[in-house]
Amino acid sequence: MARKANMSLQKNPMPSQEPDVRNHNFEEVALGYTKEQALDEAQRCLRCKNRPCMQGCPVMVHIPEFIEKVEAGEFEEAYQIISATSSLPAVCGRVCPQESQCEKYCVRGKKGDPVGIGRLERFVADWHNANVAAKAEKPVSNGHRVAVIGSGPAGLTCAGDLARKGYEVTVFEALHLAGGVLVYGIPEFRLPKAIVQKEVNGLKDLGVTISTDTVVGRTITVDELMSEQGFEAVFIGSGAGLPMFMSIPGVNYKGVLSANEFLTRINLMKAYLPDSDTPIIHPKKVAVVGGGNVAMDAARCAKRLGAEVYIVYRRGMEELPARKEEVEHAIEEGIIFKTLNNPVEILADENDNVTKIRCIEMELGEPDASGRRRPIEKPGSEFELDVDCVIMALGTSPNPLIKSTTAGLEINRKGGIVVNEDGLTSRENVYAGGDAVTGAATVILAMGAGKTAAKAIDEALSKKDA
């Protein structure tokens, strides 16, 4: 009997915690599809021969094939198809911006919702994690040693791909815990840390060594890794760097902090827990400045600490760079959007404690070089918001530690490491990828870069054997 696709125009909705419940806890917001929902959603896939969805995936997951397995109820087979090209399925199913990647190209999206590819990926990964205990086998070593700097999505992907091919990989991590932005940046309620640790443990099963507390550029240099420690290639996936602040008066007052600091205290140091050894401010009213995913994460964390939260963003709701789903979640949770406003000054009391943020209204003018309409101040429209905390979520500039200690490593105008299409830098056998190259971007793009570099490293080192 010929297969008949489910022609419902709507995606199966994602079961979630109620907004007024979840904005008081740090538990995961989205609860994941049930088996029935997954089977139903999988039937919406048209199994297009030319697989338009795949062109949107930076790691080229074989999407129609894994969905076909889901529809057949063969969830482990579906997992094997995803994990053949993606080293972090449970992570990607949660944090990928599917609407601008795979789901953007889904034919079903032309009329109605695209297939919930991300939700299905998450279902499959969670099913595997809950039901399959098999540990990955350590492959036979090919004798080649590779160093990976940074244990975020780029580094973990590069390490995983190489380890599966038999490379002896050591990942060097500056912090005390592996995972990079997945542990210090993305909150528990979007990506439970137990999932990240499971992925990291999976790499250890493959024989990857994780060396925490090692700051490359300080504890050891890239050159020493190669000349003294005998690594034949190095992949730099050290991530984004120094947080940017606005140059407005009052930016150093007490209660002004970067989103990086705020999120690190909460996510890495667990400062929201009552018995934590790490302090965090418990603000009453917060202005989060910025409109990206990091701004949404910071705002939603502040809400969970009990604050009233404003997002202050200089363009409009339509221009918010954050994922639509994150913006919707934030609105549902009671975050107040003050769009088309820009801070001009932060005010404080005599002890430098923040009391107000002064903003000016903006309007959108002609498109600028980036193609986005340029925000322009409306003269005389200044107003003040009472806040006791300001969180700056304005992006980052690249970390200077590795470039300043690695001679001959070419850096672009913005401070990112220059690489070719294979991820190779200006230094022989030194590769790079992720935010260290592109500046702040997404988890999946970093994974794609880690994958590209792993392939290139494999090709370069296996030539030595020939």
Binding site: A174, L175, H176, Y184, T212, D213, T214, V215, R218, T219, I220, G239, A240, G241, L242, P243, F245, S247, V251, N252, Y253, K254, G255, L257, S258, N260, E261, T264, R265, L268, M269, K270, S276, D277, T278, P279, I281, N351, D352, N399, P400, L401
Partner: protein, 279 residues
């Protein structure tokens, strides 16, 4: 895990720990710091390095018991292990090419001042030192300072040892006596470093201070350690910790360091209570 190979109580509230950390010991330079965590779940605490032995693979820190983490640290013994010990962080102090310098240390800041002073001395400078403590029973590293400096002035707040008064008074006396320093290097409480800078400013003597602001990662990620220096934003972990004392915006720096003060006091009390119960 990082083994405490030696623990020595220098004073009732000041303790020396020698930690096994070969990679850190190999790279450490005067003026740099480490970040440690005492246990799983512990906070990340930046502490400046006192000395290092690359051959033995150890790093020595001298810590004043001031809060929850330092209290927990004090409860540990030689042979115990620290959860984390990462470094060396920050840039090394610049000591080369100086003919005559004065190093000013305040309290446990002397533990940090010492390696810098010794490096100035080893690099061939004439080294004067002014070290200040609350009272005689808090004086540390006196022999070490004496050996590596040409002139040593010890000050105590209560006059129980050395000369009575502040380090800034002693420093001013040295300058007024005709000593022409290429550089004054100050390490201690922020308020002390501020007033050392104010003291030298009218004389136009280059003054370097070692800042210890709030910090989490120590690698240039969190931005907690930012300072206003000469009107520009600087990050102590990657740009410092040494800065031009005449350029630092002290009022903001001093206040920012108090950001978690109430919480820290409360946490310290709780930890003391817990440790007492456990004892």
């Amino acid at each position: 895990m990082y083994k405490i190979v030696r623990k020595e109580e220098l004073r009732p509230t000041v303790t020396l720990y020698e930690i096994e950390a070969p990679l850190v010991a190999k790279k450490a330079q005067p003026g740099q710091f480490i970040i440690l965590r005492v246990d799983e779940g512990g906070e990340r605490v930046p502490i400046t390095i006192n000395s290092y032995d690359p051959e033995k693979g150890t790093v020595t820190i001298i810590v004043q018991t001031v809060g929850a983490t330092t209290e927990k640290l004090k409860a540990m013994k030689a042979g115990d292990f620290l959860q984390d010990f990462v470094g060396p962080l920050g840039r090394a102090s610049e000591t080369a090419g100086k003919k005559k310098v004065c190093v000013v240390g305040g309290g446990v800041g002397c533990a940090i001042a010492y390696p810098v002073l010794k490096k100035f001395h080893d690099d061939g400078a004439e080294v004067h030192a002014v070290v200040g403590f609350k009272s005689k029973d808090l004086v540390i590293l006196e022999d070490e300072f004496r050996k590596a400096s040409d002139v040593l002035k010890i000050c105590t707040d209560d006059g129980s040892y050395g000369q009575k008064g502040l380090v800034t008074d002693a420093l001013k006396e040295l300058i007024d006596a005709g000593n022409r320093y290429d550089e004054v290097f100050a390490v201690g409480p922020m308020v002390m470093m501020k007033f050392v800078s104010k003291t030298t400013e009218p004389y136009g003597i280059k003054t370097t201070v070692s800042m210890s602001p709030i910090m989490i990662d120590g690698t240039g990620m969190c931005g907690g350690c930012r300072l206003s220096v000469g009107g520009e934003m600087k990050f102590a972990c990657v740009d410092g910790p040494d800065f031009d004392g005449h350029q630092v915006d002290w009022d903001i720096a001093v206040k920012r360091n108090q950001m978690y003060h109430d919480w820290e006091v409360k946490k310290h009390e709780e930890t003391c209570n817990l440790l007492r119960k456990g004892a």
